[in-house]
């Protein structure tokens, strides 16, 4: 019981400890708030700009979730396709890897040519940056079905589709949820990049304007808000993972 309590408290203790150390370092070394503001200064800024921040943060959250949602749907479908066909898998990997290697910030201008400034570029950037890990993980989960299991089902007359849906997809779920944790944090990166370059609202846009005006505490406050949102969404994905694929987390390491 004691160990369990410690585990539950550990995230809070580590996080608070981190900010306390930061605060002490700023005060003891007399660092200018232009270089590195102390957490107390940032917190004050968060409070001061609370209406602005929450307005833009909600917008960013919305962009991120939309892009992430698209990535989940598209990633699942493409992952299933790649996992169930060795030919499609072999054929499309170079394209996928090539595409994923392009920095997404370089794609935003193209999105602006196509769709103009607004909500579309951030959503699409979030989508483009976050679908790749989902595809790779779902495909791996499906492609690694045990050959004996496949034989058992094929000897019964099961079609490829039967095998993918009865065994492949459920089997890929732990991989899928693992990839969602990566994808959701990436989706934030994507929507913020999109907003910085091609939007009039959102934390990304706020960041651009705040840094242009040298409002250092506001820049830091925006970053903190982003981090908090990211942790929050990550926790939700982790919760969904635990409640749907508990069967996959039986090892002592996961406990």
């Amino acid at each position: 019981m004691k160990a369990k309590n410690q585990l539950a408290l550990a995230p809070w203790i580590f996080t608070i400890g981190f900010f306390v150390l930061w605060e002490i370092a700023c005060r003891a070394l007399g660092i200018s708030s232009f270089i590195l503001p102390a957490p107390s200064t940032i917190l004050l800024a968060v409070w001061e700009y609370r209406t602005q921040l929450s307005y833009h943060a909600l917008h960013t959250l919305w962009m991120t979730l939309a892009g992430f949602g698209l990535a989940v749907v598209f990633g699942l479908l493409l992952g299933m396709l790649l996992g169930s066909s060795r030919l499609i898998n072999a054929g499309s990997y170079p394209l996928l890897v090539g595409f994923n290697s392009i920095p997404k910030v370089a794609v935003v201008p193209i999105l602006v040519f196509w769709f103009g400034v607004g909500w579309v570029p951030p959503v699409l950037t979030a989508f483009l940056i976050s679908f790749f890990p989902i595809v790779v993980n779902v495909a791996t989960g499906i492609a690694t079905v045990e050959p004996e299991m496949e034989d058992v089902l094929r000897a019964l007359g099961a079609s490829k589709k039967d095998i993918v849906f009865k065994v492949g997809v459920p089997r890929a779920m732990p991989y899928f949820f693992g990839s969602l944790k990566v994808a959701i944090t990436l989706a934030y990166v994507g929507s913020v990049i999109g907003e910085q370059n091609a939007s009039n609202v959102g934390i990304g846009n706020l960041l651009t304007r705040a840094s242009a005006a040298f409002e250092v505490p506001l820049v830091w406050a925006s970053l903190v808000v982003l981090a908090v949102l990211g942790v929050f969404m990550y926790a939700i994905t982790a919760y969904v993972e635990r409640s749907t694929t508990g069967w996959a987390q039986r090892s002592q390491m996961a406990a």
Binding site: E148, D151, V152, L153, A155, G157, D162, K166
Partner: protein
């Protein structure tokens, strides 16, 4: 009696085999309906290939495979299979794992949803037969290896297959559990009248369970000896300690040793 599984002069080379050496060559094998056949041989002799050929998972390069009076050109759909690895799906309860074949095979596939209770009762009856009464709600990973293997036998039998393929099903178990499962297998065969092909390394297992034993040569595999097992049924585990039993096992061992030397 007409043969139920009839492999005639079968040669098979895997498409992926780099050296082009056939896995089985000029293999001829006849197994009667309702018979319990065992296939023994040195490792890598193509025993598993034989299973794949008889179930239509692979098609021979030469020769014919006839199962239940029809030449095999697609997976036979009437086979149940169990392997050394129980391959239970960890996200399904044991009961749902056993019901899996019914989600694939017609006519059960169309009937399953509406007649669920009937099929569940059948699965539970099977569980009881193999000594797993009331364990259906547990997940496979909550069961021991021997229990998982019992459940895997239930899965292989739930759709009342005419042909049961066992590929070293007891290979990974300790010897006490193995002997217990021999008896389970013996009783299932007596109750269901299914044709069984058991591939095994264990000569005592073959001698105890089978009506007829086929010895295979080293790769490329073919049948080098065929032996009727004379012991009357029902057989008790005690017969494995009789001199006749030891003599049979000893004779089989001679065939295998010769096959290994020839390789």
């Amino acid at each position: 009696m007409k043969p139920f599984v009839d492999l005639h002069d079968v040669t098979h080379v895997y498409a992926r085999a780099e050296d082009g050496v056939p896995a089985v060559k000029n293999l001829t094998l006849r197994i009667n309906e309702g018979e319990f056949a065992a296939i023994v041989g040195p490792s890598g002799c193509g025993k598993s290939t034989l299973m794949k050929l008889a179930t239509g998972l692979q098609f021979p390069r030469e020769g014919t495979v006839i199962v239940d009076g029809r030449q095999v050109g697609a997976p036979v759909k009437l086979a149940g299979m169990a392997f050394q690895n129980p391959t239970m799906l960890p996200w399904r309860t044991t009961l749902d794992n056993i019901l899996l074949p019914l989600e694939i095979v017609e006519p059960h596939r169309a009937r399953l949803r509406r007649n669920k209770a009937e099929y569940v009762a059948k699965a539970e009856a099977l569980l009881e037969q193999v000594g797993l009464k009331g364990q259906g709600h547990r997940y496979p990973w909550q069961l021991s290896g021997g229990m998982q293997q019992r459940a895997s036998l239930c899965r292989a039998l739930i759709h009342e297959p005419k042909l049961l393929m066992l590929d070293e099903p007891f290979g990974a178990l300790d010897s006490f559990t193995r002997e217990e499962l021999w008896c389970v297998m013996r009783d299932l065969h007596a109750a269901q009248k299914v044709t069984i092909i058991l591939v095994t390394h264990d000569l005592r297992e073959a001698a105890f369970l089978a009506d007829r034993i086929f010895c295979m040569s080293a790769r490329p595999g073919r049948i080098v000896a065929e032996r009727e097992v004379p012991f009357p049924r029902p057989r008790d585990l005690e017969i494995t300690y009789t001199p006749e039993f030891s003599a049979l096992v000893h004779e089989l061992r001679g065939h295998i040793a010769q096959a290994r030397r020839a390789a």
